[in-house]
Amino acid sequence: MIKADESKFKTLEDIDTQEGMGICGPDGCSIAQHKLEEKANN
């Protein structure tokens, strides 16, 4: 999981804003694994 420096930015209460379902970095993009599994099961 990619996180901001929590001393600088806060997470909003009751909203999962730290666990991005899709994010890209220098090594490529990642998707929350459960989302891929959901898709495969549909």
């Binding site: 009751d14 991005g20 899709g22 994010i23 890209c24």
Partner: protein
């Protein structure tokens, strides 16, 4: 409210996530009076200006196991984009360097016309993810910039120089100093963070929560 987001034109989740953020801003009624600032975050500053590689090859470097996984991911990303009404054809993507696109976005931003900047960003995402043309090609950038509303001579002046590169680097330094390692990364009121292309409902909920706090 003030919102900034770190993004790259080569980042599919930035395309999807920023579109969700803009829709959410419209839904909560703040789009017209909120500053939404694009901050540069090049995923690969060393990407070539020309390439024959596919987008999948670019990330997997010929590793077959990674390739299978990447294909599943790309199919999922395309379906996410399609569900949000964004045209995307990852097989056509030409994975070239985005720095000149970033410099032109900075130039557009210098005009203090948010809708002009938005037009440029939107057109550049379309080039990258749907048109099958190279975002590093100056002819492609020139044509798209004019279509988006920028002046031909001024765009040429930017493309034939190193102008606005320092602004791009400044954004990336700010990201680094803030511990930001991936994109998209949204910051609301310089205080709250939204990491990645979250579900649309999360953007709406986050904006409503900040709005509520502002009205206290």
């Amino acid at each position: 409210m003030e919102i900034k987001y770190w993004s790259d034109i080569a980042c599919p989740f930035c395309y999807i996530g920023s579109n969700r953020m803009k829709r959410a801003m419209k839904e909560v009624g703040i789009y017209d009076n909120t500053r939404l600032e694009f901050k540069s975050f090049e995923l690969n500053p060393n990407a070539p200006k020309e390439t024959k590689e596919s987008y999948i090859d670019h990330f997997t470097q010929g590793n077959k196991t990674l390739e299978e996984q990447a294909k599943k991911q790309m199919a999922y990303i395309e379906s996410m984009a399609k569900d949000d009404g964004l045209p995307m054809n990852i097989n056509k993507v030409v994975p070239t360097n985005t720095v000149d696109a970033h410099r032109l976005i900075k130039f557009a931003n210098s005009k203090n016309d948010p809708s002009l900047t938005e037009n440029v960003i939107k057109r550049f995402y379309q080039i990258y993810f749907n048109d099958g043309t190279s975002i590093a090609d100056h002819d492609v950038l020139m044509k798209a910039s004019i279509e988006a509303g920028l002046d031909k001579d001024e765009v040429e002046n930017v493309l034939t120089s190193n102008k606005y590169h320092q602004e791009v680097l400044n954004d990336e330094l700010e990201a680094q100093q803030s511990g930001i390692q991936g994109a998209p990364f949204f910051v609301i009121n310089n205080k709250y963070a939204i990491n990645g292309a979250q579900p649309y409902a999360n953007f709406v909920a986050a904006l409503k929560q900040v709005q509520k706090e502002e009205n206290k």
